[in-house]
């Protein structure tokens, strides 16, 4: 199987580069917001950009396996970073919602969380991400063994919650949400057919011997 073309000695550096690159759009949006570059409703725009980047990095994290299975590109070394970058964007998105958007008025925030399906989905996504972020270290992987894999299957409901959170928050369905829905459907749907694809590939390998 082909591995991604980064020599092992640069691997750690490339992971750090990914963190820096991945978080850059968030800092750039903050900079734009401070200097009036986010249009007439900067708070909403900033909040939305953070949410979009969270969704994008969740998708990238769940694209690692299909890329390896189907195209032989192994990006597994970057999956933890992709997931954690998504988590940081979700945290920032939530923090902006609580402070800049809702002004920390707890009654209105609680009302929102208890009443609005799209907020509930967003909250559910955030809550499910927390154990994944907390166990995204080698020690947890070793300690949890095969349970780690089971736990991290939460990534699928998280991605579904994230995309529904987005789609339910908008006024009308346009091309953009349809594209995100299609990508998420493909990524999650792949997991349903994956066992059969792997069987088929294994069968072919045996035949080739």
């Amino acid at each position: 199987m082909a591995t991604f073309a980064v020599p092992p000695r640069y691997r750690a550096a490339s992971v750090w580069a990914l963190y820096a690159l991945g978080l850059l759009p968030g800092f750039y949006a903050f900079y734009l917001g401070i200097y009036g570059g986010l249009g007439a409703d900067p708070v909403r725009e900033f909040e939305h950009r953070l949410g979009f980047w969270a969704l994008r990095f969740l998708c990238l994290g769940l694209a690692v396996t299909p890329l390896r299975d189907l195209f032989g590109t192994n990006l597994i070394a970057y999956r933890r970073a992709l997931g954690l970058i998504a988590f940081y964007y979700v945290l920032a998105h939530f923090a902006v919602y609580l402070t800049l958007d809702r002004g920390l008025i707890l009654s209105s925030i609680l009302g929102d969380i208890l009443k609005r399906p799209y907020i509930m989905l967003g909250m559910a996504g955030l809550l499910m991400l927390i154990p994944l972020a907390l166990t995204s270290n080698r020690w947890s992987i070793r300690k949890l063994g095969s349970r780690w894999n089971t736990l991290h299957k939460l990534a699928y409901p998280i991605l579904l919650a994230a995309v529904l959170h987005y789609v339910l928050s908008i006024k009308s369905i346009t091309l953009e949400p349809v594209i995100y829905l299609a990508i998420v459907t493909a990524l999650v749907g792949y997991r349903v057919v994956r066992p059969r694809i792997m069987d088929w590939k294994r069968g072919r390998r045996l035949l080739a011997r």
């Binding site: 007439a40 209105s108 009302g111 929102d112 009443k115 346009t174």
Partner: protein, 315 residues
């Protein structure tokens, strides 16, 4: 009456037209002047209007925000799309056909409208169903004046409006993925249409309407959510039955025919209790929400129209 409050915004805060025109002269070269005008609307030109008593006592939204943050899906669904994609739209020449249950159906051109109806400036709050708001100095005339001219029949109960369809000039009306059915349509009950607050706007900020704000003529009903303010109107029809309205047709459980601003009746997916006033934040901070008022603060004037109606049912 709350209507007759003096404006809090000092006249000195508004850059006088002559002054900013003279700044352009300072730039010298005609090319520079053309380049500057091109970033606004190619069609916006000065429009005179007498001041009126209809003005809210709140800080007016900047012209920059009011003309670059718009919902006008005919030019695209992004807030910046209408300003960016409307340069090819030609609001002149323009005619409005007024008909249906009236004594004197007629087609009126913009020139006649600007000549026959005295224009006045009114500073209204504008509350979008997406929970943001602005304060806009409109120029226009009461819709009732136009209705008087066509003499509605006794059987007329509603007024239906229709936006122009020009896929070649309105990029949002072509392409394979369109969120709404065209033409955009809206409607009012006749008494709402005759209400003195109901305005047919032909301008804002002392100029004719820029394309992105609904040139050359649009509806303004300040106690209703912004989507009732149908833009670029070509047809007005008096009817006996409640006419369809675009957003109601798309999602009837979310958008009612009345669409009166009501903090107590939430959109099924989000709260309408608060709103963010555009332009209040400096950068990212200080843009916290303010409470939304019943009928967007115009309850004293319009609540009577809905006496005895269950506003939870007729949202």
């Amino acid at each position: 009456m709350p209507l007759y409050r003096p404006p809090r915004i000092a006249a000195s805060e508004i850059t006088p037209k002559d002054l900013y025109l003279s700044r352009r002269h300072l730039l010298g070269g005609a090319a520079a002047a053309i380049a500057l005008t091109a970033t606004e609307s190619a069609w916006a030109s000065p429009l005179s209007a007498k001041p009126s008593a209809y003005r809210v006592d709140e800080k007016v939204t900047s012209k920059q925000d009011a003309t670059t943050y718009n919902n006008f899906y005919e030019f695209g669904t992004g807030k910046a799309d209408p300003a960016q994609n409307s340069a090819a739209f030609k609001p002149l020449p323009w005619t409005i056909t007024v008909g249906g249950l009236v004594n004197k159906p007629q087609t009126i051109d913009m020139e006649t409208i600007l000549k026959d109806f005295p224009m006045e400036e009114r500073i209204y709050r504008m509350r979008c169903v997406e929970a943001w708001s602005m304060v806009i100095p409109w120029i226009g005339f009461p819709l009732s004046a136009l209705l008087d001219r066509v003499e509605p029949l006794g059987s007329a109960k509603y007024v239906a409006f229709e936006t122009v369809v020009r896929p070649k000039e309105m990029p949002g009306q072509s392409g394979f993925f369109q969120p709404l059915d065209w033409p955009y349509v809206e409607g009012l009950r006749l008494d709402e249409a005759r209400h003195p607050l109901t305005l047919l706007a032909t301008g804002l900020y002392g100029e004719t309407l820029p394309n992105q704000n609904g040139a050359p003529i649009r509806l303004v009903t300040p106690w209703k959510y912004g989507f009732k303010g149908i833009k670029s109107i070509v047809k007005i029809t008096l009817t006996e039955k409640e006419p369809p309205s675009t957003w109601n047709r798309l999602a009837p459980q979310e958008y009612g025919f009345y669409a009166n601003v009501n903090p107590a009746v939430d959109h099924p997916r989000w709260s309408q209790a608060t709103e963010r006033r555009i332009g209040e934040a400096s950068g990212l901070f200080g843009g916290a929400r303010m409470n939304t008022l019943p009928f967007n603060g115009y309850a004293d004037q319009v609540a009577g129209l809905y006496a005895g109606m269950d506003l939870r049912k007729f949202y």
